[in-house]
Amino acid sequence: MKLLSKYYRVNITATIIVVLVSSVFYYFLIHHVLLEQLDDALKVEEQEVTDHVKENNSLPQPSYYNDQQVIFFELTGPVERKFGTVKIYNKEEKEYMVTRQLIFSIKVAGKIYKVNILKSQEETEDLVKLILLITLVIVLLLLIILFLLSRFLLSRLWKPFNATVEELKKFNLSGKEKLQLKNSPINEFRDLNEAVTIMAGHVSREYDTLKVFTENASHEMQTPLAIINSKLDVLIQDESINEQQMNQLQGIYQALDRLSKLNYSLLLLTRIGNNQFTQTDNIPLDKIVKEKLIQFEELTESRRLKITTGITPAIIHCNKQLLDILLSNLLNNAIRYNMENGAISIVVSENKLVIANTSPLPALDEKQVFQRFYRHHDTTPEGNGLGLSIVKQICNDAGFSIAYFYRDNQHQFHIHF
């Protein structure tokens, strides 16, 4: 739920409750005040009747006006003086009218009379309704204005916050750009931006340290690897080593070879990540691809792979060394995971490179294929699982996009420049 909707929900509920409760209260209050006023008028009439009786010792003439009636009835006993609201049928208007009445008894010339003073309450009721209506309309208008105003104001107020969120979404730890947040005159947002900037700074520094660490760690491993390698090279010169021991040594060699290549790949990955391949040139991709194919000719021929090419001139802008690694990795995969008498097709056009190959392997997981150490479970652990990560990293670095597809029983890698 949005903060704004949450705010509105609470705000509107509270306002409605307050308005409802207060309008009920208001209605009764006004009603009560106006009734008091009506009763006062009835009392004045009562006084007039009493005064008339005192002066003349006779009842005044009853009056039958529409808004005020005074009626007398003869009684046997006195009645209690009381105010009341009744509905009386009006013949002229042909409807029941709400009427306020005062009943009291008066003694005139030894006889007891009940005096009934009636005053129409309709006007009062109308007035109450009108006042209530006006009040409600004003409150409603006020609410709408408040709502619109706060909506407009709040969305404006939250603008710096939304801008910060947008910037954070764009922020890429391995990217070259630093986090840039706009200054806000609002203290809270300024604090937020400051905190976020400081945090991003911390994270970036930690990340850089980690990258440097990875690179250094890989570098530091090279020397021990070199020592092991050299010791083995010396050891195998020993004439007294028998076949069994030689096989053990061969195992060590193989593992060492894998470790060396793994370390080399990790080093390469971090070095691309650390932007250490800054020099870029305009490179004729078509020529480089043709050269690579000649380089790999021996491998492709030995597996009797059928190579089809569609190479048109293309110039791309990137680092030459990285392009070389990219092509080698892709071609190596296309050959290694191929089958005897399989096929490889290579298409080079102005803005696209497609390398496709047949393989006994089924379709790979598109999401995972570029992940470090991802291997299809049917493959032998010949490769170190970093080849495609390196390809991906090189593409990212050069601003190319790469995608994997499985079409027509072929594994395809598409690179857009």
Partner: protein, 222 residues
Amino acid sequence: MKILIIEDEKALSESIVSYLKQEEYICEIAPDFKTALYKTALHDYDCIVLDITLPGGSGLDILKDLKANKKMDGVLIISAKNSLEDKVVGLKIGADDYLPKPFHLSELSARIASIIRRRNFAGNNTVHFNEITIDTMAKLVCIDNIALDLTKKEYELLLYFISNKRRVISKNAIAEHLWGDETEGNIDFIYTHIKNLRRKLQECIHTDYIRSVYGMGYKFTD
């Protein structure tokens, strides 16, 4: 032939010395920057194996010092920092070759031999092994003065064998020498090349110089 190994890792420099001694090289070790400067100033070497990261200074400064003093020693840089920039800088200053760590000693030996051949201004660019003669300038192989027709890979293989004659070379080392980094797990290809080379050599020579050493590798020996 005198070789100076400037390398601070004792274990590594000892292996190098032990391997190169069989080639009848006279090897000296300089384990730090100061000793290296002292030795290079005092003596001339046919080849200097130079590590870049040294205690007390950078190997590149030793290289600069050599060039400033117009020394003609051949220089092979060995570095744990396998970066193109290092390589470019090193070669620009005047190193003859660059070999990233880790490496096979057979590769190191072949590279040293190549540097020494190139440094040799007497024009002696030939390598001999009994009746086999290789002219490295013309890339020509002769057996008893009869030219042998070899493919590029077979030629490289033979030269590599003779540069490491009478020593066991692992299959990995051969594969890496012939195909570089391009051949992950494609060691099997060397069999074809060795088979072909062996066949071509045996057409002229009756003894088989290429000896297979169990599953480990090969030894070129008489």
